[in-house]
């Protein structure tokens, strides 16, 4: 076991998969000579050369589509978006091409491609660089959506995503690249897409979260342990397909739930989770489910306002307290 940063874990996953399978290549802005805008692809150009680590022009639509075309004829492209905000320029190729081709062709052309890059807010990047799009892509049949919270999960899930035969949207985080560090097994392991994990076991309330919000939820759980509230934290890890059974099993045990996400509240990931819980665990609930999310505004630049908009451990703790003190005793 070695302790790796989230960034190093992703880099290791790419390196291992490129060594294992010659059809895997990386394309994106600054992925080669610059070693990646966030250094996720560090060293890969030297190791694999320009056809496998391709510096693209700033043309997201074009190089995302290039990846889709290459995947149709059997390559396994990993398309890096410098951030998912820029991927809005390429969303036609993700949603209209990658997600549709297998079905439109009657099962003839599957598209084994990974679109990856950081999502969500970082530090005062303002409205156009601070957005979470999990619910957008999670809405689309034909896509899989992965958003890991730990280095361990990032590596195992990126390797699974590269080997997957369908398009995967893989959402990372600028804030986690360097600050999240955890133990990663030496050598080969895979984490299946579509499996959530209980990151902390508890009996009083279930918190469902993904990506950065797992860490905020774990911090809230630690804090509430001192107050005598025993919190279970379920890390979704994959947004689509959702691991509903793991969430439902937890809620049937704790009878209360708080659903947390960084993105906007309307039509969000949390809205889907709440629906799944009410359909499959309604009779087990002792209180209405609470949601915690970013505020329903474009991210402001001013530091105090960003702090106000971004959901943190304090917001999660407040929601947990509310859920645990309302409803049936």
């Amino acid at each position: 076991m070695a302790v790796l940063s989230y960034r190093e874990a992703l880099n290791a996953a790419l390196r291992e998969e490129m060594a294992r399978d010659e059809s895997v290549f990386v394309i994106g802005e600054e992925v080669g000579e610059y070693d990646g805008a966030y250094k996720v692809t560090k060293g890969l150009l030297d190791e694999y050369g320009e056809w496998r680590v391709r510096d693209a022009p700033i043309a997201e639509l074009g190089f995302a589509g290039l990846g889709v075309g290459a995947a149709m004829v059997g390559l396994r492209p990993v398309v890096e978006f410098m951030t998912w905000n820029f991927a809005l320029l390429a969303i036609d190729e993700v949603v209209n091409a990658a997600a549709k081709l297998y079905q439109m062709s009657g099962g003839q052309y599957n598209v084994p491609i990974v679109f990856r890059g950081p999502g969500g807010a970082a530090l005062q990047l303002a409205a156009q660089h601070s957005q979470s799009f999990e619910s957008w892509y999670g809405n689309v049949p034909g896509l899989k959506v992965v958003a890991p919270a730990t280095a361990h999960d990032a590596k195992g899930l990126l390797k699974s995503s590269i080997r997957d035969n369908d398009p995967v949207v893989f959402i990372e985080s600028e804030l986690m690249y360097n600050t999240v560090k955890d133990e990663v097994p030496d050598g080969e392991y895979l984490i299946p897409i579509g499996s959530a994990e209980v990151k902390r076991a508890g009996t009083d309330v279930t918190v469902v979260a993904h990506s950065k919000m797992v860490h905020q939820s774990l911090a809230a759980a630690t804090k509430l342990a001192d107050e005598g509230i025993d919190v279970e934290v379920v890390d979704l890890r994959t947004i689509r397909p959702l691991d509903v059974p793991t969430v439902v099993e937890s809620v049937r045990k704790t009878n209360r739930a708080v659903v947390v996400e960084e993105g906007w509240p309307a039509f969000g990931v949390g809205a889907q989770i709440v629906d799944d819980i009410q359909r499959e665990a309604f009779d087990w609930l002792d209180a209405p489910i609470a949601r915690v999310s970013g505020l329903d505004v474009p991210m402001p630049y001013a530091k105090n306002l960003e702090k106000l908009v971004f959901p943190n451990a304090g917001h999660v703790a407040a929601a947990i307290r509310h859920v645990c003190t309302s409803g049936r005793a």
């Binding site: 022009p57 075309g69 439109m104």
Partner: protein
């Protein structure tokens, strides 16, 4: 009798002016010699003579070194595409085909000139006006018609429809419905060819309105910079739906749009002349195979019908006279006349080809009529290629409780 048959070919489906003698007269006199289509680079310089692909020097021969049988095959493909789509239009009007149905009638020389010179291991990708490309590449008329009908024997099993014909066994990478969106896919295919050190070529066809969309420039730029073996064929039929391309485009010659990219050969060609198209395509294929040079070919052609079956054939954006003028230069009649004049085709042979094409189109309709509709589970079968498809089936199961 040959006159009647030729008129109905030129008039296209349901146009109702098949008997116009002036049209026919103009059609007979409007034939031009092959090779006058101006194979020039965007800067106006003549292109160097291309390799001859093992044939006798094709430029010394008005028929590009093609045998009599090969010439007739080109004509056959054009007639088949025309007669097939006339049948499709009838079926659409009978309600057997739904959704959008974009007919290619008038533009057949482009498909018949660009696809036959390709090898079986080359690739073809095109836009939503894709019936003729599918037929010329070799998808059976029955399979294309069944796809239009939404039946399981369609080339996309009834899940794609008019705009999404696919056949992996023929490297036919589809009909794509978003204007310009498949050009990036084409350069991805070109990238994969170079990645594997292959010598295949990817043909990418699209309409004139694509020159104004970002994907066009992003794709040509990358194809030129990385030398990706893609032949971009712009089918300039003058209109993006109902908008004259020149009303919305700040360049007079569309081929000049390709001239902005070093390392990409850009030219135009008479898209109503199948041999001129073929010659330009042969040259482009040779460049792509030998040193991976991509090409951009503007083929000037015309669609006789509306943008889709929802539109009248000429509409408010063009005159009846304009449509008739182009019909008088009809690609099929032009080529037929050229072959007859050269003694490469008899009137009787032409009649036979036409009769057989009509019979094939009718058989395609019968085949499609007999083909079953997809079973309900097919809605789920092709969303994902792995076991997750069962999971979404489960997630949707609740709807059945109320149904």
């Amino acid at each position: 009798m040959t006159g009647e048959s030729a008129e109905s070919i030129a008039s296209g489906a349901g146009a109702g002016d098949a008997g116009d003698p002036e049209l026919q007269a103009a059609g007979d006199s409007g034939v031009e010699a092959a090779g006058d289509s101006g194979l020039q680079a965007a800067d106006g310089t003549e292109l160097a003579a291309p390799p001859t692909n093992g044939r006798p020097d094709s430029r010394a021969d008005a028929f590009l070194g093609l045998t009599r049988e090969e010439c007739r095959e080109h004509l056959r493909l054009m007639i088949l595409a025309r007669r097939f789509e006339e049948k499709a239009a009838e079926a659409y009007q009978m309600g057997k085909i739904g959704g959008f149905c974009h007919l290619y009638i008038g533009q057949e020389a482009v498909a018949a000139g660009t696809i036959p010179p390709l090898r079986a291991d080359d690739y073809v990708i095109t836009a939503y006006r894709d019936h003729a490309q599918a037929l010329v590449r070799g998808i059976s008329p029955g399979s294309v018609m069944a796809e239009l009908f939404g039946r399981v024997d369609g080339c996309s099993k009834g899940l794609g429809g008019s705009m999404h014909m696919f056949d992996r066994s023929l490297n036919f990478l589809g009909g794509h419905g978003i204007v310009g969106s498949h050009l990036p896919l084409a350069i991805g295919v070109g990238y994969a060819i170079r990645y594997r050190d292959g010598d295949q070529v990817c043909l990418c066809c699209f309409g004139d309105s694509v020159v104004n969309i970002g994907a066009f420039h992003e794709s040509l730029n990358m194809a030129a910079r990385w030398k990706l073996p893609v032949v971009f064929v712009l089918e300039n039929n003058s209109y993006g739906m109902g908008t004259d391309i020149h009303r919305v485009t700040a360049v007079e010659e569309l081929k000049d749009r390709g001239g902005a990219y070093d390392g990409l050969v850009s030219l135009d060609v008479d898209g109503m002349d199948v041999l001129a198209v073929r010659q330009a395509m042969e040259d482009a294929i040779a460049r792509a195979r030998s040193d991976k040079t991509p090409s951009f070919i503007e083929a000037r052609c015309y669609r006789y019908m509306g943008h889709s079956m929802a539109d009248p054939s000429h509409g408010t954006y063009r005159t009846r006279e304009e449509v008739e003028r182009w019909r008088s230069d009809d690609a099929i009649l032009q080529f037929r006349r050229k072959l007859i004049d050269a003694g490469r085709l008899s009137e009787e042979e032409y009649e036979t080809l036409d009769r057989e094409a009509i019979a094939e189109a009718e058989a395609a309709v019968e085949f499609a009529d007999r083909s079953p509709v997809p079973d309900p589970d097919a809605a789920y079968r092709y969303v994902y290629s792995d076991e997750y498809r069962h999971d979404i089936r489960r997630r949707d199961a609740w709807r059945g409780e109320f149904g």
